[in-house]
């Protein structure tokens, strides 16, 4: 199986000890992040309160919470697109608070493919800022279009693709840039139920293949459990708790019907309903 480009670089350039240390230190840390908006009049609206999150290399983490609980706000802060009121965001121990960059790739719910670029040009979009040669760009684009199974659509425009295909292009575009962490804000939220499950299956396969570190937010509890190794439950702007998902690494869609899965689901839903 073809390995992820980052992994190749790391294993080539680093000794065993470096590998070990990579697994001990968090890839991404969110430290005491709060966000307060000025509401109507002199009222203050606290959207996030003292959030602490750690994500280790090669983990797939989901953040679940009901809509309006501040998930997108948190992810935008992590991506550096929104400054927090207090707190820090660290990637590999370095503060990147309020500074977006190619270390944190982002997939939004929709509207973000550039309609004037073909699929291949969209995937290559970030590569031009790295000063990559045209030939290398082409190889990288082809590789990641293969990974998401869209090699036959390289020269199509986004308007010619279905919703699920568009999101696969958006994922390929983020991955081609080889980010340290892949951030996803309800990437399948706009898709129909069947396509959504296909995309979940696809994403899990992709993660098994590439072992990219992922932080995904969703309001869909089943989606979170099916995909993640660890779940953070967000509610009323706080982290209510953290639930490790003790399911086999390789998961089929059928696992959603298993008793273990349903147990975890009950646990998550109970935690979401708790009031502090």
């Amino acid at each position: 199986m073809q390995d992820y480009a980052i992994d190749q670089n790391e294993s080539q350039s680093s000794s065993e000890t470096h590998q070990v240390s990579l697994n001990c230190f968090p890839k991404l840390e969110v430290e005491n992040v709060s966000k307060v908006y000025a509401g109507k009049g002199k009222q203050l609206l606290t959207v996030l309160q003292d959030i602490n999150i750690k994500i280790f290399p090669r983990e797939f983490i989901c953040l679940v919470g009901t809509s309006g609980c501040g998930k997108s706000t948190l992810l935008n802060i992590i991506a550096g697109l929104l400054p927090p009121s207090t707190g820090e965001v660290l990637v590999d121990g370095q503060s990147v608070t309020g500074r977006p960059g190619s270390d944190r790739g982002m997939v939004f719910q929709g509207y973000t493919l550039y309609p004037w670029l073909t699929v291949a040009q969209n995937v290559a979009f970030g590569l031009q800022f790295q000063g990559m040669s045209k030939a290398d760009q082409k190889d990288q684009v082809n590789y990641f279009l293969n990974v998401v199974g869209l090699e036959n659509f390289a020269n199509n425009y986004p308007k010619q693709l279905s919703g699920g295909m568009k999101q696969r292009v958006a994922i390929a575009r983020a991955l081609a840039n080889e980010p340290a962490v892949l951030l996803m804000d309800e990437p399948f939220g706009a898709l129909d139920a069947q396509t959504k499950e296909q995309m979940q299956e696809f994403l899990l396969e992709l993660w098994e293949k590439t072992h990219v570190t992922v932080l995904m937010i969703t309001h869909d509890v089943e989606e979170a459990i099916y995909l993640a190794q660890r779940i953070y439950v967000l509610g009323l702007g706080q982290v209510k708790g953290e639930i490790p998902i003790r399911l086999p690494q390789h998961r089929e869609l059928d696992i959603k019907l298993s008793p273990e899965f349903v147990d975890i689901k009950r646990q998550v839903i109970n935690m979401m309903r708790q009031r502090h």
């Binding site: 977006p100 190619s102 790739g105 939004f108 004037w116 670029l117």
Partner: protein
């Protein structure tokens, strides 16, 4: 389990619902028969022409005020054949082109800057907003005093009339770009200049073409104003000259000729923008 559902209470049975009545002619986004559409299009051209023909041939209005369509047409042919109307058409087109290009070269970048940067918005919008409400025709005497009566003043009048609309419409187009489209570029390592050059400019390109297409009609308005004031040729000059000679047939022909040129330009620009932006999926009318 379901046996015990009671009968609905009588007030529920009497409940009146409202339904949409059928209508073809007044249908709103429900599809429209092509035949009716064609009939209406033909009517929109034939009806005014018929009224004009009837009113003028029956001399309801004296022929000196309103000549017949045929008279206007034959006058036009004579003007082309004997009065060298081509030179006037060429002169006016050249002025419109020069003024329009100047208005685009200034208006599009300024509009992009206002739409993109908060700082430029705060700096320039109040000025643009105020000047927009000052009539361009009011500036004409000043322009003549400052620049004189030659070609530059005519081009300046046309540009001034169009440039503010270019600025405002382009700035608006930038503000319609979804935030995510810009943010995702930052997460791929793009700088602010990259975002301007590789996201904002291509994203607004179709709207910029549309803006220019709509505003070229403004340029034709102002070329007539400029030529009425001081010119030795041009369609506007021909109109004012014909008015002095009481030749309503010539006036009418020149006005209609401008209309035809405008319509032709409109279609040409629509075609061009379709060719240049095959990826855009908005329907252009």
């Amino acid at each position: 389990m379901f046996e015990s559902i009671p009968n609905p209470p009588p007030e529920l049975i009497k409940r009146q619902y409202s339904y949409l009545p059928n209508s073809t002619f007044w249908s709103i986004r429900q599809g429209f028969p092509r035949q009716i559409s064609i009939v209406l299009i033909i009517m929109s051209l034939v009806l005014p022409l018929t009224v004009w023909t009837i009113v003028s041939t029956t001399e309801l209005v004296p022929a000196t005020f309103l000549p017949t369509p045929l008279a206007v047409l034959s006058t036009g042919i004579t003007m082309f054949a004997e009065n060298n109307l081509w030179a006037d058409v060429f002169a006016s087109c050249a002025r419109v082109l020069a003024g329009f290009v100047l208005a685009a070269v200034i208006g599009v970048p300024v509009g992009l800057a206002i739409g993109t940067f908060h700082s430029m918005d705060s700096l320039l919008s109040p000025l643009v907003g105020t000047v927009r409400y000052m009539p361009t025709t009011g500036f004409v005497p000043l322009i003549i005093i400052w620049v004189g009566l030659d070609e530059p003043s005519k081009i300046l009048i046309i540009s001034l009339g169009v440039v503010l609309y270019n600025i405002i419409m382009v700035a608006d187009a930038v503000k319609f770009i979804p935030n995510e489209m810009i943010n995702v570029a930052y997460t791929m390592g793009a700088s602010r200049w990259d975002v301007l050059g590789k996201v904002i400019i291509p994203a607004t390109f179709p709207s910029v073409l549309d803006t220019l297409r709509v505003n070229i009609s403004g340029a034709w308005n102002f070329v007539v104003i400029a030529e009425v004031l001081a010119a030795q040729n041009g369609l506007g000059f021909k109109i004012i000259q014909s008015q002095r000679l009481f030749r309503t047939d010539r006036v009418l022909f020149c006005i209609m000729l401008i209309g035809v040129i405008g319509l032709f330009l409109d279609y040409a620009l629509k075609w061009l923008s379709k060719k240049l932006t095959p990826w855009a999926d908005q329907v252009r009318h």
